[in-house]
Amino acid sequence: MGKMIKTTNINKLFLHVVQACLLLMLPSFVACSHIDENDRLIEVKTDDQQPAPVPDDPSTPTPTSTVKNVLLEDFTGQRCNNCPTGTEVIEQLQEAYPDRLVAVGIHGGPLGFKGSATVKGLATEVGDEYYNHWNLEYQPVGLINRGEATNYVNWVGEVMKEMKQTSVVKMEVEAILNADKIDITVKEEGYDSYNGMLQVWLLEDGIVAMQTMPDGTNNREYVHNHVLRTPVNGTWGESFLINKDEKKNQHLTQAVDADWDASKLSIVAFVYSGTGVEQVVKAVVK
């Protein structure tokens, strides 16, 4: 049947080391987790979902910050079969944070579709430029207030974290359709000084266009919402500087393209810097 090993000094030393290693591993040998069907979801305490306390209460004499909204840039594509699942996550977040979450669908990248003679495409050159600039690797992938690239399964957690942050810039935006152009007014108020960029985008909701679905089929009646149509003030926006207690406003105009449904347009305005998005607001074009 074989023979036992000779316990030379070296072997003895090894055996001691091995015994020590096995002892260290012992917890793993008995470790086991089984989670029953009814225990797979843990309800999140309501406190966890509350936004950060609003410091700009009128009774507070000198507020230094205000509520921060969250920009979720969804890098998506019509040929991306997981993208509708990402969109479902966005819909859940919009329901939970109707006033504070601003989602933007940026079509482009390898799974974006620029259109053919018969099929409408939503991908744009600027969408590709953003995808490449952020060095993204897959779709759907999100940037939450321009933090790290985030897989859609982590969007809810990351958005919830960001909802607890505060901002030093308060913003408002208004957009009015005037014949074939949109007059846009962006207002900012500095709770502290901030130096960054102001970016204004035009989005369209309710676009019916082809989308590859998770089961691999192409749905030609898919409704695409919050689709980035064009930047209003350049691909990367314009310089923005505000001091504490300063109020500013900008007026911009955007021509309406014949392909867009003017009744379903909205404007997103945000200020950002190398550290991320400081504030974001959205308004429907009236």
Partner: protein, 524 residues
């Protein structure tokens, strides 16, 4: 650039043997000086890109030690973002005694076919999922091998938070029974177990709930391998406990895989038949990870890794999470010399059929989709003293939607002729002609190659892959290779297409490139 390349030449490193200590190692440096190419979309993000590896190993009677330096600070195109970096990610000390072996540091290991554990390095894919910790092997009795390991997995330039523990026992029963040895029969039984201990994290399916994630995932594997005379059979089964992850859409179902493989090999004839069913077997050290990193296991591919360019145009990637039914049948036959069919020099015929299909929740039932099919026939025949011909026909079905996430089923027929001519005692010329015809994707492709070998040092290669279907693009390449001793230097210029590079069913997307290439290899 050249100064950098030559700086890598290890003039000072020579193999040496002193007092029973042996130094061995290797250098591999692949360099691209990229150019922009609007026609193919090739980009120039940097002036100079290289993947460079230097391996050093010291061996002695009782102690081995080694390390690997990797310089990937400006990596070649198509690797994941976190691949970039440089350092010494591989280092180990191994103590060896008569029947035991202990490694401390980083190590590689595979249990059985790799169903529940395979840590390995595959540079072409950017994979190195080595473990950092302790690895122990013992042969306490004849015919018994025991392994145990414990460690953290490498993910590029980090060590994962999960702790991986594993144990494996393999019994060679035939070593206990002389009658089995007399009858040329070998029977090996194996069993393995792997445990992943991964810290909890906040992953929310919706804003009101978070997943209750299992801290421990256990996986086990049993196998039996019987060889008797020309016959061989391998049966293997593995199972994994609840492991909700991004890959399986946070399913709490168990994962499992079963494989049956039979072979027959007699003089001149070889037959291989195998079937495998896998379900929910994506096993990673990080549950929220996507991409090619952090896999703890690997399922063997039942599809061939083709070397001919057009046969490798649409390679299959194993569907770990979704699961698959995979079948493979391979037949090889040598027609004897001076026979009616074999002719003067004999002829070799190889037929391979691979078929991969979706699964159904009922165990034995097939799902609706074909993922991949490859039927290929290869004939190799020497037609004269200095002329050898290899012909191949391949019929392929490639479900682009499943494999790449978009697109349709691509049905193609591929024809290959590969001729090797001995022009002079030290001069050989090899020529390849290939044609792929399909109505889908980018349509037809043609490929031609000429390779002149001037022994013992030089080889000149020129090739062109032409999309004669949709894009009419030429992907040309010229290479000069110089070999001296165990040094090999290859310089070239060319354009490569965007596509998938696969090995063993694992694939990496490689973008189009254009530019000068330089490759240096040295083993000592």
């Amino acid at each position: 650039m050249p100064s950098f390349a030559f700086a890598l030449l290890p003039w000072s490193v020579t193999a040496q043997e002193q007092k029973g200590v042996t130094l061995s190692g290797s250098v591999q440096s692949d360099i691209l000086i990229p150019k922009e190419d609007t026609r193919t979309g090739a980009e120039k993000k940097e002036d100079f890109q290289t993947n460079t590896y230097v391996d050093l190993n010291l061996q002695s009677t009782h102690i081995d030690a080694g390390l690997r330096v990797e310089y990937l600070e400006h990596p070649l195109p198509g690797f994941e973002n976190d691949f970039k970096g440089w350092g010494v990610p591989h280092f180990y000390v191994k103590g060896k005694a008569k029947n035991v072996e202990l490694t401390l540091g980083t190590f590689y290991e595979q249990f059985g076919s790799g169903f529940i554990l395979r840590s390995y390095e595959e540079r072409s894919l950017g994979i190195d999922n080595s473990l950092l910790g302790a690895h122990f092997v013992a042969h306490p009795f004849a015919g018994v091998q025991l392994k145990a390991l414990y460690g953290k997995q490498r993910r590029y330039w980090d060590w994962g938070e999960s702790l991986i523990a594993g144990a494996d026992a393999e019994l060679s029963i035939d070593e206990w029974f002389t009658s089995m040895q007399e009858h040329n029969t070998r029977l090996r039984l194996g069993a393995s177990w792997v445990n992943k201990d991964e810290p909890d994290e906040d992953i929310f399916p919706d804003p009101k709930h978070r997943w209750n994630l299992p801290r421990y995932v256990n996986a086990w594997d049993v196998r039996a391998n019987l060889n008797t005379g020309p016959w061989g059979i391998l049966v293997e089964y593995a199972q994994k406990t609840q492991d909700p992850s991004f890959d399986n859409s946070f399913s709490y179902d168990n994962g499992h895989v079963a494989m049956l493989s039979g072979s027959y090999s007699q003089k001149g004839l070889s037959v291989l038949l195998q079937a495998k069913r896998s379900e929910n077997m994506s096993f990673r050290s990080r549950r929220s990870m996507s991409g090619t990193s952090t896999y703890i296991n690997h399922l063997p591919a039942f599809t061939l890794d083709h070397t001919y360019a057009l046969a490798a145009l649409y390679p299959y990637a194993t569907q770990l999470a979704a699961g698959e039914w995979a079948y493979q049948a391979e037949l090889g036959y040598n027609f004897k010399r001076k026979s009616a069919i074999g002719g003067r020099y004999g002829m070799n015929v190889k037929v391979n059929f691979s078929y991969v299909r979706s699964i159904d929740s009922k165990w034995l039932k097939w799902g609706d989709d074909t993922y991949y099919q490859d039927l290929n026939v290869q004939l190799t025949r020497r037609l004269g003293k200095g002329f050898k011909l290899n012909l191949m026909y391949m019929n392929q079905r490639y479900n682009k939607q499943i494999i790449e996430g978009h697109g349709d089923m691509i049905r193609s027929n591929i024809f290959v002729a590969d001729a090797l001519m001995q022009l002079a005692p030290k001069t050989k010329l090899r020529a390849e002609l290939q044609y792929l015809t399909t109505k889908q994707d980018q349509g037809d492709w043609a490929f031609g190659l000429l390779e002149l070998s001037l022994a013992p040092h030089w080889m000149l290669t020129a090739s062109d892959m032409w999309n004669c279907g949709e894009t009419k693009t030429h992907y040309y390449q010229g290479l000069v290779t110089f070999n001296v001793g165990s040094h090999r230097i290859q310089a070239g210029y060319g354009r490569t297409r965007a596509g998938y590079n696969c090995s063993g069913g694992v694939c990496r997307y490689v973008p189009a490139t254009k530019g000068f290439t330089l490759a240096y290899n040295y083993n000592f």
